[in-house]
Amino acid sequence: MPLVDPVTMSSSISKGAAAKAQSLVKGTTAATSKDTAILLSTHEQQPISLRQTPLAQSARHVFPALLATGFLVRFNALVADPVSTMKTALAVVVALQLAYAVICLPVVGSQQGKPARKPRPGEKNLKKGSLGNGVGDGPGARVYVTAIVALLLSTFLTPVLYAAMVLFGAPFLTHGAHTFLCAAHLAALVLFPIFFVHGVDSASWAAVGSFQAPFDETFGGLVGGVVGAWLGAVPIPLDWDREWQKWPVTILCGIYAGHLLMRLLGGTVLFGKRF
């Protein structure tokens, strides 16, 4: 309903985005803030390749394997007591994801995409500083800071995911902890890596959000997690009277299965491909 003045709304959001971007990493400038509405056609996003270190290349499949194993091991406990299992598992998952990000993923700005558009005059310097100290910077304190900030941002978005789940029909007044923890797992799995590699660059997020980004491990993981969560709702209504049909076990299964599968595919066979 067009009750909101579009002009005010848009400007306030871009201002907010700019402010956030500035506060995120020191040295960030408002280079992108003016261009929140960058046309995707002029800004072809590049897929994110993992870091080329031997450690990263060997660890990239260890983490998913660990997640999958952990999920399978804890499945019975999850069915028996979803809340406490998800609570304890969340810490492990976050730790694994942090390690994965630090070891395998390129921190935001380090893999400066070869810009498809020509930098406008006067923009050169600003662009260079965008969300990082320049190309080829090795992992340093910035990596850890970014990881923590990305984790915080994912945490902030968890209530949004929770709200989305409720809007899809999750219980509104009951099972609050169930749904919220489920949303937290989803955030840790799919949002955190994206924040880590893209920061809060609105053009990248617009590309990711509108499913226009090229496939890589992070985007694949996002698509897989979201679609998995969606498909996870399918078995709930069936009258099989199984314990595992209870909320939110199937959703969590869908999230993990979809995320891990698409993370694998996105990093390998689908890499660089688009919808």
Binding site: P2, P6, V7, L167, F168, G169, A206, G209, S210, D239
Partner: protein, 1086 residues
């Protein structure tokens, strides 16, 4: 109707048509002025004004001619298009009709009648002679002595208390208003077991009164198809209790529900009987008071009758109107308590008093289905003389719940027949109730075994006739009825050789086994289907869906051919002026509808009439066969025509995300109908789809380059999702959803009235919705013309009156003003409802037909030049804004006819639809299939949110009495339809909005686009109907067939017909008016 006048322009109440002309004239004048200026400029040399004027006049005339031709062409094409949809409707009706005729089978009715002289036990035993259990009694073979069994009563009084559920009659440990209010039956049965007994009485579904009465008098199982005749009772021709009594010269008196009169015309003693209208569910007392007034005098004249039937409707009507959880129900049950105890006091030794419920009621007081609460009624028998016994001492206390020791309702038939000495009706499948035959001591096993054997022999005889008539062989395999029968007969033989009563107990059990097994077999057998008819129906529906999809898939490329180019249009106009034949042949596919309708007619009528002729000549009477084959040939012709224009089904493969989403929504749901779980939880699934679409469109909007459009699109998407979730709180749970669902639609789960807080909801809609609608019109400057008055005042007033209606209704139900004379509130609210419907449907439609577009036209001199500037406010949404008035009128009507929660839900639906069309417009999806599919999903979603489920018992019959005092045809069914399918009807009315929203006058190909959108919309429902039909056919042996699959199929079938009809009546017709009006003012685009 009060024609709203535009305050600024005229003080006198200008009729809308004159205003219409004024706007048209304004526009024409402005355009003329502009043209004049342009002409002036074009001619370099200043010519005289006269010549100029001539040129203008010529142009004007030519344009008029073109406009006229284009208008005529539009009207013609519209008619052909309508023809195509009529054909589609016929195909749907024939397909559904064929399937139904094979699926909802009727039992083969036998004309045989039992006679007193030919007891079934003659010549049935394996020894070939009648080895009776009882010694011959006095008067054997005569009615007075007892035809087949010794007579025990001369007279019977049967009191049917409609919808007397078993738990109403037994003590319960709670304070529910419907419990412990009717203790008389239980108390007498417990205190004097030799005089009375009380047992649960299980009705066979369908639990509608008419079917129940058939079962209660014939002893057979009704078949599902009979339920359609519930509104027009037809006489029973099968052998039945009343027929036997009348044949024996007995006199029958009837008081109460007039359904009996319809079933047994001419059976009753005219001067003593009193029949009362049965469908006026608002009236709790007339029938009961009439029964009580006339029954007691009859007790003094016992020699004037032999069977007295009294049918009370108060409990049933209290259930329908208020639900069981209401004070009225307590009062009604207490009244029945007094009535029955008074009546029992009037009995004599020769009369048996029987009180029974014909069915139960569900949690909200409705019935019709086969849930436990609907089938569990109570049966109580009373005799002044000690006649009744128990086979075990613990049976003295009546069962605590209906799950313990129930009797089947058909068991009443042999019981009453044997007690009164008449033959058991030929088709009976029930067995005698043991309490009535085992004697006061509880040890008369020989009597009980004899009764059971006689009944079983009757069943055996009936089965033999039935199988002979159908040509089926009865096998004597182990466990088969034949085997059980032989076993029982052998037991009789051996029992004769021994002594003591106990030996007969096993004989009794053996015959009971036979009866139980036979009944089970019969239930299976009568679930038998005519597969040929069903397959034919499915084939017609499937081919109909294929041709619909092919039709929809055509013309995707046509759209790109339509270029919005004013210069091209001008050139085209010039050509037309020079007399070059216009449009039809140049634009491909323009006359497609015409060719389709011709093809369909050519395919249908010869075969149809051929079938008629063939049937007439052969005299078989299967005239309808022509319809099936005619449909098939006409589909074939249509497909040929469609193929002719190189349209293939491959076009249907979605190539965008949105296309896929539309397919996934439709197909996954259709596949899901194979599972009872997905059918039961359909409302949640639809919410899931609504949310999926909203989130997808919000994400997709990130692609939009214009920030304002992007944010508005995201904003509308989120509003769309949230509104859907808010609406989902309005729930009416079906029994199968328990315990995971809480109903919120009514005040409580055991009520069908609204809670006081719910009455506020319609007022919120009245306050908010018109402003919301305005907010959607203002950005396109379309809140002009008639819109401010119509939406701001008339529509708002309609909503206010609708909200007021429900307050009056609640005041009437709750008796808030006891000082008011009876019926004051009721009359007032009925007249109010009539005014609202008149305003919204009659005045509203009239206003819509004559309304000018929602635009304002200003002419001003362009500053700095001598040119005139024409400003048309609302030009960009001239089509959509005007069309919106029509769905709003429909909304005002269904807003009244839905209960307060439903009214709130419908308000949300309108808002969601507006958000939807905005989203579609921003994301350029108006041509995508997702728009109509989402609209269809919303329609179905709000079917559930307006207090309905795919179950017969959720039909809100009481809505028929919102604008009427009594049942009146055709209005009552129409009102119930508007109530039941409010969601789908509103969705069907808004299909054109997808095509017309934010569309200005010079748009071509609107009819084609509308037709395609409408096709997609219909396709969703057609696919659902086809899927539910196919699944119901496939799962015809499934345990849940009549509880889940069949009701869903019937819902889908009726919904399809409803959207077909209302889509044409509202959508297509409204589109025509709209286009004519816009074209009249702004000229014709094509």
């Amino acid at each position: 109707m009060a024609p709203p006048s535009k305050p600024a322009t005229s003080k006198s109440p200008a009729s809308s048509s004159s205003e219409y002309k004024k706007i048209a004239a304004q526009f024409a004048a402005a355009k003329r002025a502009k043209e004049a200026k342009e002409a002036k400029e074009a001619s370099e040399i200043q010519e005289e004004t006269k010549k100029e004027q001539e040129a203008i006049n010529l142009r004007e005339r030519q344009r008029d001619a073109i406009e006229k031709r284009r208008k005529a062409s539009f009207e013609r094409r519209w008619l052909w298009n309508l023809g195509f949809w009529v054909w589609m409707l016929i195909i749907h009706i024939v397909g559904i009709g064929y399937f139904t005729s094979g699926f909802l089978l009727t039992r083969l009715m036998l004309d045989d009648k039992s006679t007193c002289a030919s007891a079934p036990t003659l010549n049935t035993s394996i020894t070939g002679s009648d080895s009776g259990i009882l010694a011959p009694w006095k008067g054997k073979g005569t009615v007075d002595g007892g035809c087949w069994h010794p007579r025990t009563f001369e007279r019977a009084v049967v009191v049917v208390i409609d919808a007397l559920r078993y738990d109403f009659t037994v003590p319960m440990d709670d304070n529910a208003p419907f419990h412990n209010a009717f203790p008389f039956l239980y108390e007498t049965a417990r205190r004097s077991p030799h005089h009375a007994f009380l047992r649960p009485f299980i009705a066979d579904p369908p639990t509608a009164t008419l079917q129940r009465l058939k079962g209660l008098t014939t002893g057979t199982l009704p078949t599902f198809v009979d339920i359609g005749s519930s509104f027009s009772g037809t006489a029973i021709e099968e052998d039945n209790l009343l027929m036997q009594l009348r044949g024996a010269g007995k006199r029958i008196v009837h008081l109460g529900d007039d359904t009996w009169d319809a079933l047994f015309p001419g059976y009753f003693e005219g001067n003593l009987s009193r029949a009362y209208d049965s469908f006026n569910v608002w009236d709790l007392h007339t029938v009961d008071n009439g029964v009580m007034e006339h029954i007691f005098p009859l007790m003094e004249k016992k020699n004037d009758w032999d069977l007295l039937i009294a049918h009370c409707l108060g409990v049933d009507h209290a259930g329908h109107r208020y639900g069981p959880d209401h004070d009225e129900m307590t009062k009604k049950l207490a009244q029945m308590n007094t009535f029955i105890s008074d009546l029992a006091a009037k009995m004599d030794d020769k009369t048996v008093l029987i009180v029974m419920g014909d069915h139960g009621m569900d949690g909200k007081g409705d019935h019709g289905g086969e849930s436990d609460e609907e089938v569990e009624a109570a049966l109580w028998m009373y005799s002044k003389k000690p006649m009744f016994g128990r086979t075990k001492p613990e049976y003295v206390t009546p069962p605590a719940t209906a799950k313990i020791r129930p009797v089947n309702q058909i068991d009443f038939v042999p019981t009453l027949a044997l007690m009164m000495g008449i033959p058991i009706p030929f088709n009976n499948l029930g067995r005698p109730i043991e309490e009535a035959f085992v004697g006061p001591t509880g040890s008369a096993w020989d009597n009980l075994a004899a009764a059971e054997r006689t009944t079983a022999a009757g069943i055996k005889r009936y089965q033999a006739s039935y199988f002979a008539a159908r040509g089926i062989e009865q096998a004597a395999t182990p466990g088969s009825p034949a085997e059980l029968w032989n076993k029982a007969e052998r037991l009789v033989g051996s029992a004769h050789a021994t002594k003591g009563q106990e030996r007969w107990a096993s004989v009794y059990a053996a015959y009971a086994d036979y009866q139980v097994e036979t009944l089970k077999r019969c239930k299976e057998l009568w679930g038998s289907f005519d597969l040929k008819q069903m397959a034919l129906g499915i084939a017609i529906m499937a081919l109909g869906v294929i041709s619909l999809l092919t039709y929809v898939s055509k013309g995707v490329e046509d759209d790109s051919a339509i270029v919005e180019n004013p210069e091209l249009d001008l050139a085209e106009k010039r050509l037309e002026m020079q007399g070059v034949a216009p449009a039809t042949e140049t634009v491909p596919g323009r006359d497609l509808d015409k060719r389709l309708v011709r093809g369909a007619a050519l395919g249908f009528f010869p075969v149809f009439f051929g079938g008629l002729l063939q049937s007439y000549l052969s005299g078989v009477g299967d005239w309808y066969r022509g319809a099936a084959f005619g449909s098939l040939t006409s589909i074939a012709m249509v497909l040929v025509v469609l193929y002719d224009s190189r349209d293939v089904l491959l076009n249907l493969m979605p190539d965008t995300f949105w296309g896929w989403l539309a397919v996934v929504f439709t197909v996954s749901q259709s596949v899901g109908f194979a599972s009872n779980s997905y059918t039961i939880w359909e409302d949640s699934i639809l919410l899931f789809f609504v949310a999926t679409f909203g989130f997808a469109s919000a994400l997709s909007a990130l692609k939009l380059s214009d920030p304002a459009e992007r944010y508005l699109s995201i904003y509308n998407s989120i509003v769309f999702v949230i509104l859907g979730r808010v609406a989902s709180f309005s729930k009416l749970c079906r029994e199968e959803q328990m315990p995971y669902c809480t109903s919120t639609y009514y005040a409580s789960a055991t009520s069908s009235t609204s809670a006081p807080w719910q009455l506020v909801i319609p007022f919120l809609v009245f306050l908010i919705l018109p402003s919301i609608v305005k907010a959607y019109l203002v950005p396109s400057r379309s809140y002009e013309g008639l819109a401010p008055n119509w939406i701001g005042y008339v529509f708002r007033t309609g909503l206010f009156m609708g909200a007021t209606y429900w307050v009056l209704d609640a005041a009437d139900n709750g008796n808030w003003f006891p000082s008011l004379p009876a019926n004051t509130l009721k009359s007032f609210s009925v007249y109010l409802a009539q005014i609202i419907l008149g305003l919204s449907l009659i005045a509203g439609t009239t206003a819509f037909v004559w309304s000018p577009p929602c635009v304002s036209i200003y002419t001003a001199a362009r500053p700095g030049t001598s040119q005139a500037q024409v400003t048309v406010l609302g030009y960009g949404n001239a089509h959509g804004a005007r069309y919106l008035l029509l769905p709003l009128n429909i909304l005002a009507a269904i807003f009244l006819l839905s209960k307060p929660m439903g009214a709130g839900a419908l308000g949300l639906m309108m808002w969601q639809i507006l958000a939807l069309v905005e989203i579609l417009d921003y994301n350029s999806l108006t041509n995508s299939a997702i728009g109509p599919i989402m609209l269809a999903i919303l329609g179905n979603f709000y079917f559930f949110k307006t207090g309905h489920q795919a179950a017969l018992s959720t039909i809100q019959w009481d809505s028929a009495f919102i604008p009427l005092f009594t049942i009146r045809y055709p209005w009552s069914p129409l009102v119930v339809t508007l109530n039941t399918f409010a969601g789908q009807i509103l969705a069907a009315a808004t299909v054109p909005l997808i095509v017309l929203w934010k569309v200005g006058p010079p748009r071509k190909g609107l009819l084609t686009r509308l037709s395609r959108s409408f096709g997609v919309f219909i396709a969703y429902f057609a696919v659902e109907a086809l899927a539910t039909m196919a699944w119901a056919g496939h799962l015809r042996r499934h345990l849940m067939l009549f509880r889940v699959f069949n009701p869903r199929f019937m819902t889908a079938a009726v919904v399809l017909i409803v959207v077909d009809i209302f889509g044409m009546l509202i959508g297509l017709a409204g589109f025509r008016c709209n286009t004519l009006s816009v074209g009249e003012v702004f000229g014709w685009a094509e």
